[in-house]
Structure formats: C-alpha cells, structure tokens
C-alpha cells in the first residue's frame, strides 16, 4: 500500500493491456471460428436458388442448418426418391431465414430473429404458399416451437421469455395462438381457463408450450407445466380453456388421423433426457418408440405411420440431422436428411 499514484496507474495500464489482450484474443478466435463454421462443408448438401411453393405436393420444406450462406434458409427437397431423395437432392434455397418453421395446407409460420437497438429481437411471420409475408407479429422472446393446423387456418408458437431483475433471472415460456381468419391473436395462452385433475386451477407459474392442432380448427393439445409437473392438456381455442389428460408429456404432436399423440417423456427425474413415445388419446396408453436416444424436439408426422424429428449432428456443431422412426414402436430409426430441422408433412396432391 505504499505505491505512488504513478505506479498505481502504471500497474492499472499493464493490467488493462493484459486483460484487454486476453479479451480481444478470445473475441477474435471466436469470430474466426464462426467464420470457419460458416464455410460450406465438403460433402455437404448442394444448393440452387429457386422458388419454393408450400402447396406443391411431394416436396419437403424445412429450415436448412448446413454451414454456409444458406444456413437457416428455408429449402425444399423431393419427399420421395426422385433426384437423390431427401438426403441427396440438390436443395432449392429461398432467401427466407427462420429459426423455427412449420406449415400445412399452404400456410407457413416462420419465427425469425432480427436486431433492435443492438439487441436480438424476434418476430413471427405468417407466410402464404409462395412464402410472401401475410402478417408479422413481434415475439417476446427466443423462438422454441411453431405449429400450423392441418387446414392452415390456425397457427401457434412458443417462445422463451426472460424476465430480468437485479441479479436474478427467471425463465418461462409464452405461447400464442393465431386464427388467420380475421387475424385474431390469443397472445398469451396462460390466460386460458385450466381444469387440472378435474378442478379449476390458477397459478402464476403456469407455462404452456408445444401446441398441436386437430383437424376441426378448434381442438388442440399442448404441454402445461406448473409446480414440478408437466401435463398433456386438450383444449379449445374458441372456449379458451384446457383440461389436463395425463402427466409427464412434453411437446405433443397429433397424428394426421387425430387418434395418437407423439411426445417426449422425461426419464430419470429432472435430467434433460427424454424418450419419444406415442400415446393413444382415447386409452391414454403409451408406446415407446424404437429411437433410444434422447429426443428434444416436437416431432412431426410424415404420414399416419411415420414420425420425423431432429437430433444434433454428432460431428457438425450447430447442425441437426432429421431421423424417422415407425410410430408403432417397431423398426429402427433412419436418417431422412442431414443438416436440417424436421420438415412438416408435404402437401397432399389435389
């Protein structure tokens, strides 16, 4: 403590230089790595610019996650074996970037990021079949799930919301349901009436996520979390109400025939490990699927017998591969395509 003011300033200057150097080095090396990851991978998918039509039968449209200039862009590939099939075909790339995407019957929902005041901000775009924006809605947080009803009329999305205060951070989800006929938006599903185990229920810790719609454009299924439990709920958009059906169900996905729900079931307490199951919504009986790895995705039904879901790619940071597995617990998982998120079922002919 006998340092002269000059010495102190000198030590401070040296400290600033050293720490600044370490900081600058870490930022530069991260920037270099980001640039490296953005370079197309040898042997990765090939792209061609072109038009994508959500209503075109036999095409899978999804978010491409391959490194390179088309990362996060919506791309399309043939759903069947033509032109190399989903895995090998040249991808038709658009200039629409999404973090989450889903579509049905020519309506698409794209949750995307942009920048406001230097901070990341997010919005939901409702797209027509030619990927033109019909309507844009601001989002309160980071995109998590997106869904469109089979008729293309209803859409739902879930985002993570961060509330911050001095030194504390809490996380929750916010789920919105949109009726594109009249553009009626229920911005926060937490305002819906809840019947839990047969009784009316209210709690400020309630969270909803992972909506999936039935064919009647009213009924939906979703995950409700409160306390330490997650529940499968069935709800009505018109009545703004939900009822719990069973526990330990996350990210439900209703089959095209409306009889079964694919979902991820948490195993081993509160660890981030899930097994994908299919539940019969009448008997509430569950069947584990042949996929034994932990699936953290809201699966999609490609048809009444096949589920598709994304798993992180082993060797490629930040990318996913899409796998399929039979919905009855038989068979084995197979790669549908690399470097993408699970594509919604292709539009049907006619």
């Amino acid at each position: 403590m006998t340092l002269t003011p000059t010495r102190r300033l000198l030590i401070l200057a040296v400290g600033v230089l050293l720490l600044g150097g370490v900081g600058a080095w870490s930022v530069l090396s991260a920037a270099g790595r980001a640039a490296e990851e953005n370079r197309p991978r040898p042997g990765g998918p090939a792209f061609t610019a072109g038009k994508v039509d959500l209503g075109e039968p036999g095409r899978l449209v999804f978010r491409n996650t391959a490194a390179g200039p088309h990362r996060d862009r919506l791309v399309s590939v043939p759903a069947d074996g033509r032109d190399g099939g989903p895995a090998g075909a040249v991808r038709t790339a658009t200039d629409v970037s999404c973090l989450r995407f889903h579509s049905a019957a020519g309506t698409g929902v794209c949750l995307q990021a942009h920048t406001v005041l230097g901070r990341p901000a997010y919005q939901a775009r409702v797209l027509d079949s030619g990927l033109r924006t019909l309507k844009t809605y601001p989002l309160a947080g980071i995109p998590s799930r997106a869904r469109v009803s089979p008729s293309g009329r209803l859409a739902a999305w879930t985002v993570f919301v961060k509330g911050e205060s001095y030194g504390t951070a809490f996380f929750s989800t916010r789920t919105a349901i949109l009726d594109t006929r009249g553009w009626k938006l229920a911005a926060n599903m937490e305002e819906f009436a809840i019947t839990l185990d047969g009784r009316p229920y209210r709690n400020e810790d309630v969270n909803f996520w992972g909506v999936t719609f039935a064919g009647d454009d009213d009924t939906f299924y979703a995950t409700l979390a409160t306390g330490d439990e997650t529940y499968l709920v069935r709800g009505s958009v018109a009545r703004r109400a939900v009822t719990t059906l069973t526990r330990n169900v996350e990210c439900p996905s209703l089959s095209p025939d409306g009889t079964r729900v694919a979902y991820k079931k948490r195993v081993m307490g509160r660890t981030a490990l899930w097994r994908e199951h299919v539940l019969d919504v009448r008997t509430l009986e569950s069947t584990p699927l042949a996929e034994r790895r932990s699936v953290d995705d809201q699966a999609v039904w490609l048809d009444d017998g096949t589920l598709a879901y994304a798993l992180p790619a082993d060797s490629r940071a930040g990318s996913d591969d899409v796998w399929t597995v039979p919905a009855d617990g038989s068979g084995a998982p197979e790669v549908l395509l690399e470097d993408g998120q699970a594509p919604p079922a292709p539009a049907r002919a006619g």
Binding site: L19, P120, A140, I142, S144, D228
Partner: protein, 442 residues
C-alpha cells in the same frame, strides 16, 4: 460533464460550479468503489444478458430448463451478506472482505466456459455468494469515506455508476455476439477479464485499513451520538467498545434508531413486489407491446441512474426520511396506476419512472441512514443486518405475492400489496420521526 461543458459559453474553460462541486465533493474512494461496481456490473450483466440465448441456442436447453437455474436460494444469499458484513468488521478490513467478494465473482467466470448445466449453476451460485459477501463492506467503505452531511451524495454517485455498468453490460455482450456469431465463450471470457479488472481497480485505488486520523472530524460526533444517551433506557446503552463480535453485531439492534430502521426496512420489504412480478404486472395490465417486455428493466435502470445522484443530494439537504418515504409513496402511486390501468399509452412509462425513482430514493438512502446510526467499527455489520432483513422480507413478499396471485389473480394480489405498503409506509413515517435528541436525521 460533457453536457455541462457544452452549455458553457465559447472560451469558458471552467465547468459550472455545481458540477465541479459535485465531483470535488465526492471522495476518490467513492469514485474508485463506483468504478469497481461499474466494471463488475458490466461483467455480470454481460452474462445475464446472453444467458437465455446461450441456454437455448448454445446448450439447446428445452422449455423445462427454467426453474433449475432459479434454484439458488435467496435466503442463503441474504445470510451470506450478513456474514460478509460481520467478517469485515471482525477483521477490521472492509477492503479485504469486499475484495474476496469481487474476486469470487471474477473467479467463477471461467466455470461458465465448461459448457455444462452443472458448472453453469455453480458459477451463478458463486457469483451470488460473491455479491452477497461484498455488498455490506462496500457500502460501509462508502459511508466511511464521506462526511455525514454528504452520505446521500456519496451513495447516489455509487448507485448511478453501478447502474451504468448494468446498462453497459448487455450492450458489450451483444456487440461481441455481433462480431462473433455464437461466440458465447468469448462473452464469458471477456466478462471474466472485465471482472478481474474490477478487482484490480479495487486493489489499487481503494484504501485498505483506515488509519486513525482518516475519518473527517465531522463524523466523529455523529458516531458518538448514536446510542440515545437521553432516554437512559438500559436497552440504549452503547455497545461495548473494542470487539466487533457477533454479540456486538446483534447488540446493535438494541439501539433504538437502528431497530426502527431495521423494522421499517423489513415492513416495507414485506410489501415491495419484486421486480420480476412488477414487470409481469406492467405487461399484463398496460398491454405493453410483447417485444418491449425484455426492455422494461432498462426503463427502471435508466431512471434509477439519472435520479440516484439528485435524490441522494436531496436527501442530504432535506433529510433522508422525507426522500425515503417519498420513494415508497412513488411506488404506491405506481401500484395504484397499475390497479387503475387508465387507457393511456403513457401508463407503462409512468410506472417505470416511478419504479426507477423508488430505487433512486431508497436504495442508497437506506444504507446512508443506517451508517448515520451505527458506530464505525460495526458499520458493515449494521448495514448488512438491515440489508439482510430487507432482502429476506422481499423474498417472503415474493412467495406471498405468488400465492396471492395464484389464489385471487393479479389485481387483488396487487391491491393487497398496495394496501400493505400504504399501512407500512404510514407506520414508518411515524416511527422514523426525528427524536428530540438526534435532531432531524440527515
């Protein structure tokens, strides 16, 4: 300073007296501590700002990840503050204990680079412990380096600098992510370097153990006059000299003025709805745009930053009691506005201005008031005692408010909190009345 310079006529080299006066009147120690807090807050808010993005985009955490990270106990954090204050008095070295606190927060940053949820939880917990440890000794250092009639100003300067750091942190973090997409490790590494810089500034520019002649003469009679010598009640006898042990620390509660302050801090804490709930209420009751929700805390912080110094000075001039109570009255008005919810686009702004003003009028004024009634050798213990009481009370309020919200809905829960706040503020207004012996509290 810059704005003030610009307003002076061409050629004038002198900054206006008021500004120069303010800067000169604040001791270098307070400025150094303010710098340490600013730098440390830049560091920790960098992490807080990118954490959700990192969890979702970096670690791929799914919706049920929340709650797990929120499990750090508020109660433990409050007890750590008590320990920090007591230790600082016990070893008679506030700088050492504050330094350990800042050091812990710097050392935990590399843990963030491990990239697992467990390490992340540990890092956040250590950061909390560090924050708890340093708060009371730091506030004690501030109070000890300002004369009694300038306590409000000193705390105001410190809180303004502290909040500046909190506002700059996210900007720096997102700048880094702009340069290096997905570079969360770079954000954490820079955060660690910034935190280390804060520790360095503390070590170099904050004086250590106080030498005997250091306290300004004005503070001596203040410290001596603390225990109420007139009432003669046995409970008011001065705490024993020399030792700053636990008994002495809790013995502080036997001095009437501190007991009153403690009681008021707890009572008002019990009716102060936590920030998280307040922003939720703003969102639900004013229909503020979804996208603006993450920006609500910025509104509060900006107002806090702008008003911390003026209100601190005001407290020095017209009395801490008036400013402290006015701050709570402002909060009460904010609750009222939220309950009334008039259909005006100005509503969320009004509420945030009142919320920020509440912090500016109370956050630094309370420790300043505590400092005025606690002798020097128990300064950190006293500040920690009141701070802990307040923190625990606010924690209880959060639990109760959450339960009330679940049972009755947000409106009735807020109405209950408002009624409680009105009663407690009135009671404190009476309890904090100046007594004949102590005169008008500054």
């Amino acid at each position: 300073m810059y704005l003030a310079d610009r307003s002076t006529p061409q050629g004038a080299t002198d900054t206006p007296d008021r500004v120069r006066g303010t800067v000169r009147a604040v001791s270098p120690t307070v400025l150094a501590l303010g710098t340490v807090s600013l730098v440390t807050d830049v560091s920790s808010e960098m992490v807080t700002a990118v954490l959700p993005l990192y969890l979702v985009m970096g670690l791929g955490l799914s919706p049920l990840g929340f709650g797990m990270l929120d499990g750090v106990q508020n109660g433990v954090s409050a007890l750590v503050q008590l320990t920090g204050g007591h230790l600082a008095d016990r070893v008679r070295n506030h700088k050492l204990v504050a330094g350990i606190g800042y050091g812990l927060s710097a050392l935990c940053k590399p843990l963030l680079l491990v990239g697992s949820l467990g390490a992340l939880g540990a890092a956040l917990a250590l950061d909390r412990v560090g924050k708890g440890l340093r708060t009371a000794p730091r506030d004690a250092l501030i109070s000890l380096s300002a004369p009694p009639d300038r306590q409000g100003r000193a705390f105001g300067v410190h809180r303004a600098m502290d909040t500046t750091g909190a506002l700059l942190g996210p900007v720096l973090a997102f700048l880094i992510l702009g340069v290096a997409a997905g570079g969360y490790d770079a954000v954490f590494a820079v955060s660690g370097c910034v935190a280390a810089l804060g520790v360095l500034v503390l070590l170099l520019f904050v004086p250590g153990r106080r030498q005997a002649p250091a306290p300004p003469p004005a503070s001596v009679p203040e410290a001596v006059s603390v225990p109420n010598p007139v009432s003669g009640a046995p409970e008011d006898r001065p705490v024993p000299e020399a030792r700053a042990d636990l008994r002495a620390a809790f013995g502080l509660l036997r001095t009437r003025r501190l007991r009153v302050l403690f009681g008021c801090a707890v009572l008002l804490g019990l009716t102060t709805v936590s920030d998280a709930f307040l922003y939720l209420l703003v969102q639900r009751r004013t229909g503020v745009d979804e996208q603006l929700f993450p920006l609500l805390p910025l509104g509060t912080a900006t107002v806090f930053l702008l008003l911390a110094l003026p209100l601190g000075r005001l407290a020095d001039r017209i009395g801490r009691r008036a400013v402290f109570l006015a701050g709570h009255a402002g909060l009460l008005v904010a609750y009222g506005l939220l309950l009334w919810a008039p259909a005006t686009p100005a509503l969320p702004y009004l509420v945030l201005v009142l919320h920020g003003a509440f912090y500016a009028a109370t956050d630094g004024v309370l420790p300043a008031a505590v400092a005025a009634v606690v002798p020097e050798r128990l300064r950190a213990s006293g500040i920690a005692l009141v701070g802990t009481g307040q923190a625990l009370a606010r924690f209880c309020c959060s639990l109760a408010f959450g339960a009330a919200w679940a049972a009755w809905g947000d409106g009735p829960a807020l109405a209950a909190a408002a009624a409680g706040l009105a009663c407690c503020a009135a009671a404190c207004g009476v309890a904090l009345r100046p007594t004949p012996t102590t005169g008008v509290p500054r």
